[in-house]
Symmetry: C2
């Protein structure tokens, strides 16, 4: 879906006909165009789903097999489904049998063999970089292309510090709210505004079915936290969780096409007591579930002890690890403490282990961190985890503003991304208070896109500032329509402008409501430019001469060297 | 006005009965209280104005005189007033004759003499610091207490990097919008939510009268940009501006009680050509007016050539300079360029000159700056301007998000304040698009309060994190009402919570709508804490032993040394 009449979709082609990377082209009133990275996908009818863009690429590698797959059980949709005797709103599209690799079929595996996949080429076109950069970063583990063989609908994208900073949007129902249709709508809305990946964090009823609808309609990689569903299967009693239940849930999700999964394998038994003196203890749901399990059973975290088994599963579907930071700080007071850093050391160990299986990995990070401690988080993670991509939630720079935590966290997010975080998990205005609705999803995504872009600009990412400069030129030249069209959110920009000056004429006027025509600095500044352009050649010589003799002294900066 | 039923006003007293500093006390449900810095003032009837808190302090110093004052002219309210033959809505309260010093009556002057004024003591109580810190910082020019002798209604406050980071809110009408009553309402709304100073940037009709209503009702210092009114007096033609018109306008505003004035004295003739190749030229209104004047008259900026005359005026009313950065960048591409830095050198020179007159100074800064260049702005300003307080507008970290520029700029604002900016000028969602309405003012203030507080926390400002910790404790203990009451904006926090779970019972429930009761990590985490508290003494010994023998290897972080 295009969000503005001046936007259209264009494609850049690769080495073969079926590599066609979409961009949003903004047509400007001065005849120029500006192409924007797009995550919106081609659009889908939710009951039909998206076309399987990558199906042929996966198949032609000749290293995968179709198989019957695990049979869906009523329990997959939770107790309510069991009670009803059926799941609600089964997805109605056609779905091929699941696929898996005969052996390892990860993008990392191919990259390490020196093979350039269509996925890598797609990503390189999308990022405007050399494909060898993509391949080598994936091979080194410094970037991942989350791309489950069972989610061929997704457009390949890359997460790594050498590439554009990405944004994840969380959606999902909970026990007390929302329907499947609402969640699919949130997905579509999130990618429309620029979400690079979406996590389905459903914890309520119909988890399996909700996820099916989401994956089949998602043009972006989908992440999950499978422990949520596993817990549902044991009736919410963390102590009853077992490796077997968890493993079965993971396979269920692998077959559906989940592209990356948060695994809280770093919450070790001996780290749990480290959280007891914190102000907010353990705030990660997955982290607290595993901590509860460890304490109740007095055993080591089964995600840790079975980590190699997980790697073997992930390798056959190309599911990426998102190593969860179950002990992340839940308030600024708890940031960068022993519990957090102990877990990070373990995540570093697990990163290496996953890489031994050629499985792609990113590492999750906090949370709540005062600005002076933000950089340390990236530095330690990059050093200890050998540059595996960092994926942080915010972090919130202060705890005092519930209702505005998209902003408190965007401050930390921009800072941490500038220092090297590869993907930012958005925070919506409802954080700490409730589940995001459609408007919150949009606000969260836009807020995080601007934070991510601020980091791209700060990093001097090639071409990042072109967008700013194109918009700034439009602003300076009073091309109001272009300014709106180039905005992250054209609707809001135009609506705000129109609140004071709705007339069409005012959108071509060389002033705006802030200052009125007489005070318009942009207009005066244009006059200055004209003056300088026409009369300055000789005048400026005079100015400088004058300046040298009259105004320049030791304290004064001299414009000429 | 108190914004929440659990808030009340308490006073801390100083060495004399008339020094009573208000705080907002938040009564928590666990019997504790938390006191917050407040800017709301005692509340006023707009037609009567606030009581003259400082009148006696000013009078008893015995160094000022009442005098007839400049006669208000119809032109002071612009052409519309001239046409009508009268100004609109004259302020109806009683107003004493203006006062001015026989000599220098600035807080800096007293501080340098080693005198502790009631204003300094008030500020020290407000900030919770030693009064000698206040005196010495003001004496050194590292902090200012903006306090015009003709604005006795204002509660003394301090701007300097050793103190809490402050927030300014801009209000004011323009040629195309808004009434006097609306502007007074915006003022009251801004201070209710925490604006530490307010700038009246009116450029429309009835400038003089609007300002009178604002000052008489303002418990915070008021800033202005007098060149706007001066321009109005010469019919909007910048080339017709003269020192005489400007000087008369400044005295008019000094007599009304403006506490600080933005003076664009650093826009020198020879710097103007440096802006010609910029993407957005000159974006400061005052800067472009002075640049236009310089070019039209081919003379040096009269604010620069008459700077000592201005100092003499300011010294007699205790008006502080806010040295305007007329050449600040208007887009990220133009940040930290030759034009900006040349002007900053001149502002440094002018800072020293003002200090020779014992006149208080702060220096204004940008604007639009990519995150990687933010720190340099503070470092250079602090070094060149000998630690005079820095007062920055944002800066915006990217240009691509009109409609969200309160956020793009809060990102830059938090970063620049962490590095030492003393006051942040807010940016509202309407920036670049229109004038802020009441809602925008609130959003802008709250956004900037959280940015300023993030910086206080990052700087390790004494006591700053207490607020975060108190709220985090309430959050962890499911004291929902306390969490709301402690929030920067209790109304929004509670409304967001109630969207999903409005029932009163859910505000005492040990879970929320995000996860539902089963998944509540906070609850599980409480269990962990209880478990650790009761059973961990012996268990933890076992854990560590287990850890040492089974799990710890070279790669694994050991919790015990």
């Amino acid at each position: 879906m295009q969000i503005h009449p001046s936007h259209s979709t264009v494609h850049r082609s690769g080495s073969r006909a079926d590599i066609r990377v979409p961009f949003t082209r903004v047509a400007l009133t001065n005849g120029e165009t500006f192409d924007r990275y797009t995550t919106a996908g081609p659009g889908s009818d939710p009951e039909v789903g998206l076309p399987p863009l990558r199906a042929a690429w996966v198949a032609e590698r000749g290293d995968i097999e179709e198989y019957a797959g695990r049979e869906t059980q009523l329990l997959d949709n939770g107790k309510a489904a069991l009670r009803r005797g059926e799941a609600r709103e089964q997805w109605r599209g056609t779905r091929p049998r699941p696929r898996r690799g005969a052996g390892v079929v990860t993008q990392m595996h191919y990259a390490r063999q020196g093979r350039v996949t269509p996925e890598m080429e797609y990503v390189a076109i999308r990022e405007g970089c050399d494909v060898e950069l993509v391949r080598s970063e994936v091979a080194a583990g410094r970037a991942i292309i989350p791309a489950n063989v069972n989610h061929p609908e997704a457009e390949p994208m890359i997460i790594g510090r050498r590439f554009l900073v990405k944004v994840n949007a969380n959606i999902g129902n909970s026990a007390v709210t929302s329907s499947i249709a609402e969640e699919v709508d949130k997905l579509t809305w999130a990618v429309t505004w620029g979400a690079d990946t979406v996590m389905d964090l459903s914890t309520g009823d119909d988890i399996h079915t909700t996820r099916e609808w989401i994956i089949r309609n998602s043009p972006v990689p989908i992440g999950t936290v499978p422990i949520y569903q596993a817990l549902e299967k044991v009736d919410g009693d963390a102590s009853k969780l077992t490796w077997e239940v968890f493993r079965d849930t993971v396979i269920e999700q692998c077959e559906q096409g989940v592209d990356y999964m948060t695994i809280h394998a770093g919450v070790l038994l001996r780290y749990v007591p480290l959280t007891a003196q914190r102000i907010t203890g353990i705030v990660s749901r997955g982290g607290s579930i595993m901590a509860g399990w460890c304490l109740a059973n007095h055993e080591e975290n089964f995600l840790y002890t079975h980590f190699d088994d997980l790697c073997e599963i992930f390798a056959r579907y190309d599911v990426s690890f998102s190593l969860g930071d179950g002990l992340r700080p839940g308030c600024t007071a708890d940031a960068n403490d022993e519990a957090q850093l102990a877990e990070l050391r373990t995540l570093a160990e697990l990163t290496q282990r996953a890489w031994e299986h050629d499985v792609q990995v990113m590492v999750e990070g906090p949370g709540h961190v005062p600005l002076n401690l933000v950089e340390e988080n990236v530095v330690l993670q990059q050093e200890w985890c050998h540059d595996a991509p960092f994926y942080t939630l915010g972090p919130l720079a202060t705890d005092i503003a519930p209702g505005y935590d998209h902003i408190t966290s965007a401050i930390g997010a921009a800072a941490i991304a500038m220092h090297g975080t590869a993907m930012l998990c958005y925070v919506t205005p409802k954080e700490h208070l409730g589940l995001p609705n459609r408007d919150d999803v949009k606000t969260g995504v836009i807020t995080y896109k601007l934070a991510a872009h601020s980091a791209d600009v700060a990093k001097g990412h090639p071409g990042a500032r072109d967008w700013d400069d194109t918009l700034s030129r439009a602003r300076f030249e009073f091309r109001w329509h272009d300014q709106f069209a180039l905005s992250l959110d054209p609707h809001t920009a135009e609506a705000f402008h129109d609140e004071t000056l709705p007339a069409e004429a005012s959108k071509t006027a060389h002033f705006c409501s802030m200052c009125g025509p007489k005070f318009c600095s942009m207009r005066i500044s244009q006059d200055v430019r004209d003056y300088v352009a026409t009369g300055m050649a000789e005048k400026s010589a005079q100015f400088l001469e004058l300046g040298s003799s009259v105004y320049v002294d030791d304290e004064t900066y001299s414009a000429s060297p």
